[in-house]
Amino acid sequence: MAMPDQLMFARRLGPTARLLIWLLVGVSCVVLDSRYHAIDGLRSGFSLVLHPVRQILRAPTDLAAELGGFFTRHRALQKERDALLAERVRLLTDANAAQDMRRENAELRSLLQLPPRPGQQFVRAALLYQGHDWFSQRIMLDRGVLGGLRAGLAVVDAEGLVGQVSRVYPGSSEVTLVSSPGHLTPVQVERTGQRGLVAGSGRGQLELRYMPTQTDIRKGDRLLTSGIDRVYPAGIPVARVSRVLRLQSGPYLKVECEPLAGLDRSRSVLVLATQPQVTTP
């Protein structure tokens, strides 16, 4: 049992005592981090060290994607181009109409003496990798503080709301997805204007909470952000109602929804960087 370079009788602490000491250190780490956010510096340090490593290890997959893209069929590209041209025409008409409305809106707002809405900036970011956490659903993006991000910003893709930036590092950031368990998003039903709260239920699903049983809501209704929380701008599509259950036991409906954004598919997303709202007394 005893190694040649070791004494027969150990003079240091036994394993149980050392386990207890390390457990104490561990528990204090958990408390310091979850209650007081006291060791965020360590997180940034790890991120600085590991970020270049991750970039290098991602290179083979990126190269494979590049090569796969190179061998796309000519016909498929032509088809995609035609579809994009048609969509561009449609979007241009929409954009003209929107510009007209914006001008009209600004005039009306100035007539009513309402403050102008904060401007909107987009930051494009690509998915770095998927987080491996069973307690919430997260993704990492390749932009961070240096790209102008900060915690709390909304993240969208072409179809809808993806989530919210929860932690920022120098060169990367962490996004908590809307489907993350316990993550709340204030929404309104597009058809009726009814406001409510959407919570993630895990497994990529959402749940519209606290809807009284007599609420007018059907399968297929779209839910948009309501904008009353000052986190998400109003009108971003969030989810589509997939099932409405009337429970005998409770006063509320059980409304299940499917997120519209490609939470596990999107490779590139937009971060909405609103200017911080300045309130003048």
């Binding site: 386990l19 780490c29 290890l57 491996h132 497994r203």
Partner: protein
């Protein structure tokens, strides 16, 4: 007490395999591969605790646990506590574990790896919120398979001499 090769378990080996384990976890895993990904770092730390208890142990486990916490973006200490607990279990059962051939040793490691993962679950549950589902126990199976592969590989490489290392 026969040493098969004098440099087995040198600092170079230990650091090399642990860094390799960390690098493997940095690969862009996704989908099913992510759900089934074995905990390379845990297997590495426990492996060296079993074979070189004088060199790796609680402090190594704690440091790599903090790294795993960063990697998964979870609260600091969650994996650190679990890894430390795993090291304790391996030290406690060390003489017993060293007697077995690779498949049996892997089978004996299964409950230890399960206990470690359950500790991660418990700490996360107490510190953050209830877990989404129990798919987090899947890596236990893949980690056991990885343990079997690692021990089998070591046996092929060094011959049977390692069995007398208890």
């Amino acid at each position: 007490m026969s040493a098969p090769t004098p440099d087995f378990g040198s600092w170079r080996h230990i650091l090399g395999t642990l860094i390799l384990a960390v690098l493997l976890e940095q690969l862009p895993w996704g989908g099913w591969a992510l759900a089934l990904r074995p905990d390379f770092v845990l297997v590495g730390v426990l492996f060296w605790t079993l074979h070189q208890p004088a060199r790796t142990g609680f402090a190594t486990a704690f440091a790599f646990g903090l790294l795993a916490d960063f990697q998964d973006g979870v609260v600091f200490g969650q994996h650190a506590i679990a890894y430390v607990f795993g090291v304790y279990l391996v030290l406690y059962l060390r003489l017993r574990l060293l007697q077995f051939d690779p498949p049996r040793q892997a089978a004996q490691m299964f409950p230890i790896l399960l206990m470690v993962q359950l500790t991660v679950l418990l700490v996360g549950w107490l510190a953050v919120n209830p877990p989404a589902n129990l798919a987090m126990l899947l890596p236990v199976i893949s980690s056991t398979v990885l343990w079997y592969l690692a021990t089998g590989f070591l046996r092929l490489w060094h011959g049977k001499g390692l069995q007398g290392r208890a």
